[in-house]
Subunit: 200 residues, 2 copies
């Protein structure tokens, strides 16, 4: 296609990135070659290193290049609080938005029997062992408010109760800055039903 | 930020890609780590190789990892036709859309004195030498229909005439599939003025 087979190969390889089609891949390749070769070289090195060295933390299953990630190893975190999330991105979102100082457990997915994702694929045996060890007082379930996320939450709540751990989940309701008129019915019904008294 | 410094570095490095901000970079890194490590490794290798080996063809200035690109070296192309484009992407677009079988010259930019881009930066000495050699019969000027592109086209046309080469440029007019009502005034005026008789 282009005058350079190496360039064609680079464009093809860039398409493995999510949301990048032929046109974007082309634009990215040209941009790097024309204006940012240094950035391209750095990206290549970072990419190779990350793909090779990043595995999963053996405690929380988040991405980590060491056996136990810095967050799990930190003595500053409260070990009796454990927050379960679906993905590393969810963990990061909670970490950035809240003042939460407990630990996390990353499922790396959600229960989805049709796709062959059961408790084992989500490392729930590891979670059960942790709950059985008796360190955890509250299991904060922060799966997504989707059908599969809710099913996973239900399963996790049962697991917690089996081990005498109190399960909790994030509040549902109106998002801040949202307009009532445009909120979906399910959320509005939930927010209405879960209304709380205004303290005087 | 995340549980892995290497991951943070990868996310930072991905931001050198055009149109990729913090959120997209994060999504890309997670996608590669979770679902396509092989693609990530391949991308790293292609990127490193491309950044190191791709230079410019010494005849057409397009990207090439060999001194003379395959297109310039091809005996199947008509050497008396030379098409000047601003970027490699423009060359590729013409190559894919038209049946053009001549050669190309890639400016890798356009005249823009305020940005310090003059004839030398666009390799016009190389182009002048090629025109002086007498092989070229027609210089097809395919710079973009922008103010700077038009100025560059004007300069190129003069250069061609100086060397006794016939300059031509791409037709302006209505784009196929466009609606008259929504065409900008300049284009419409040009299309109206350049109307051609319908052969019987």
């Amino acid at each position: 296609m282009s005058a350079s087979p190496l360039l064609d190969q680079l464009i093809e390889a860039l398409r493995c990135l999510p949301g990048v089609g032929q046109k974007s891949a082309q634009r990215m390749a040209y941009h790097l070659l024309e204006r940012d070769r240094e950035g391209g070289v750095r990206l290549a090195a970072r990419l190779a290193e990350a793909m090779e060295k990043i595995g999963h933390c053996e405690r929380c299953r988040d991405f980590s290049e060491v056996p136990v990630c810095p967050l799990c190893a930190s003595p500053a975190r409260e070990t009796q609080l454990l927050c379960v999330v679906e993905t590393p991105a969810d963990r990061l979102a909670i970490e950035l938005a809240t003042g939460y100082r407990g630990l996390y457990f990353v499922l790396q997915g959600r229960l989805s029997p049709l796709d062959g994702i059961g408790p084992r694929e989500l490392g729930l045996d590891l979670l059960a062992a942790r709950l059985a060890a008796g360190d955890v007082g509250e299991l904060i379930i922060a799966t997504n408010p989707t059908v599969e996320g809710e099913a996973t939450a239900h399963y996790l709540a049962q697991l917690a109760r089996q081990h005498g751990v109190r399960p909790s989940r994030l509040a549902h309701g109106l998002p801040l800055g949202g307009e009532l008129e445009y909120i979906d019915r399910g959320t509005l019904a939930h927010a209405f039903g879960s209304r709380s008294e205004i303290p005087s």
